[in-house]
Amino acid sequence: MLRVAGLTMRYPNGKVALAGFDLSVAAGELVVVLGGNGSGKTTLLRCVSRMLRPSAGEIWLNGVDLAALYGERLRQARLPLAMIWQHASLVRRRSVLSNVAAGGLGRHGGLWTAFGGLPAAERRAALYHLSEVGLPHLAAQRAGTLSGGQAQRVAIARALTQRPQALLADEPVASLDPEAADDIMRLLRHLAAEDNLAVLCVLHQVELAYAYADRVVGIRDGRMAFDLPSADVPREAVRQLYLSEAA
């Protein structure tokens, strides 16, 4: 489903954030990436989503190499790839429903959506996905009034309205309390299994990785430290990831 090969990211200041990184995520699989600060986790997601242009390497999604595309062709090819962030990144003054329905805009051209309109079909889909994340009763509420956990669920519903086949999550529980963090990870686990999504999630919470991931990938200095089923990941290997940061 999602495959990264030889991904390298060298910043203009010469810092190598990713050095020939290889990774694949199958449909229905939840892969968690662990690593210390500055290890290259976020750069990995930003390259895969093509927010950043990698210096070298391939990003295969549905048989198309995103790394080789630009402009309109990249936009089209990236449609099945959704992303959620540490902060929900909702438009605070719009309703929850409008925020969720906006996830489907990429499928619509024309003046109606260009000037702020939302197709009825997307509104219906938005309501369905809001139900999927357990918040249909908040549809009419302004997004700026939501709690952190609710906002993150709405962001996930927006990602689902995009009809993705792969979902990238950049520290989606970093600003949530433990209970809300568990809820979000349970939801991601459920979506991977039920919607057959390939989920690639960057986390700092080691216990959540053990609890919910199918596989855990360790990253250190832009290189893969390990890639193992979560049950097989030695505690010592994880500790080493963060030790190198402290050193």
Partner: protein
């Protein structure tokens, strides 16, 4: 710290304090010099205020009571004044918004367009609205239309700059998130940028409308219509009771616009 070591430090601090005091004295002297030279340049003569009191009192006496019998003469110029400001502000918004998008660092499509837009905004602001009014009176003749055009063009300066600053201070995270859903540029703009900044832009536009109502009163003095034009005519004809009536209506319009604008802006905040 021993006493021997502390003594030189205290001496140093004494010199530093003396230097700071001297610097303050120099700054104070400079400020006094600036005030004195400005008084000389403007030929400030306080004695004229005393002798002029009788002239002012005479004008006020002749302006009282206001000639309310001629109130019918006031409605149309009053409406004209408000409409000059409304048209001028709307014209300014329509021209300033696209310029602000080009002039906002975080959304501008290219650097040359950014500098061009900043240049236009700066020029519109640098030229006073009275000068714009004189130019437009020359171009399209006397009346309210050149006044409205002058306010439109001059408003680009303030509106363009504040709109651009609002866009630059906008939280970009929802915009990036929308872009990554695959939304097109116009969709990101209408579904992400506009809802995020609309309340702030509305507040700025209302503040400008309030300013423009006050400006449109003055523009009448150079032939650009409204109450200002009628006020000048009445003064030229020594109709001081009519002048006082115009001034009362002007006061009511300015205060009403200011209160209304402040009220709506407070609700938007």
């Amino acid at each position: 710290m021993s006493l021997d070591a502390a003594v030189p430090r205290l001496a140093e601090r004494g010199w530093a304090a003396a230097l700071a005091l001297a610097l303050r004295a120099v700054i104070l002297l400079l400020l006094v010099l600036v005030v004195v030279q400005s008084a000389i340049v403007v030929h400030a003569r306080p004695q004229d205020l005393v002798t002029g009191v009788f002239g002012m009192a005479d004008i006020i006496r002749r302006a009282m009571p206001p000639d309310f019998a001629k109130i019918d003469l006031v409605w149309w110029p009053a409406l004209e004044t408000v409409d000059i400001a409304i048209f001028g502000t709307l014209g300014g918004i329509i021209m300033a918004l696209p310029l602000a998008i080009l002039a906002a660092e975080n959304v501008t499509p290219s650097r040359p367009l950014y500098y061009a837009a900043r240049g236009v905004i700066g020029f519109a602001r640098a030229v006073p609205d009275l000068v714009w009014a004189l130019l437009f009176v020359t171009a399209v003749g006397l009346g309210p239309f050149p006044g409205a055009l002058a306010l439109s063009v001059h408003s680009i300066g303030m509106l363009g700059r504040l709109f651009a600053e609002t866009i630059e201070q906008m939280d970009m995270a929802p915009i990036d998130a929308l872009t990554l859903t695959g939304a097109r540029r116009m969709q990101v703009f209408s579904h992400g940028v506009v809802p995020s900044i609309l309340p702030a832009l509305t507040g700025i536009a209302l503040y400008r409308l309030d300013e423009n109502i006050r400006s449109s009163l003055v523009l009448g003095f150079v032939g650009a219509g409204g109450i200002g034009f009628e006020l000048l005519s009445a003064m030229s004809l020594f109709q001081y009771q009519l002048v006082s009536l115009y001034l009362i209506i002007t006061f009511i319009i300015v205060i009403a616009a200011e209160r209304l604008s402040a009220l709506v802006r407070a609700r938007l905040a």
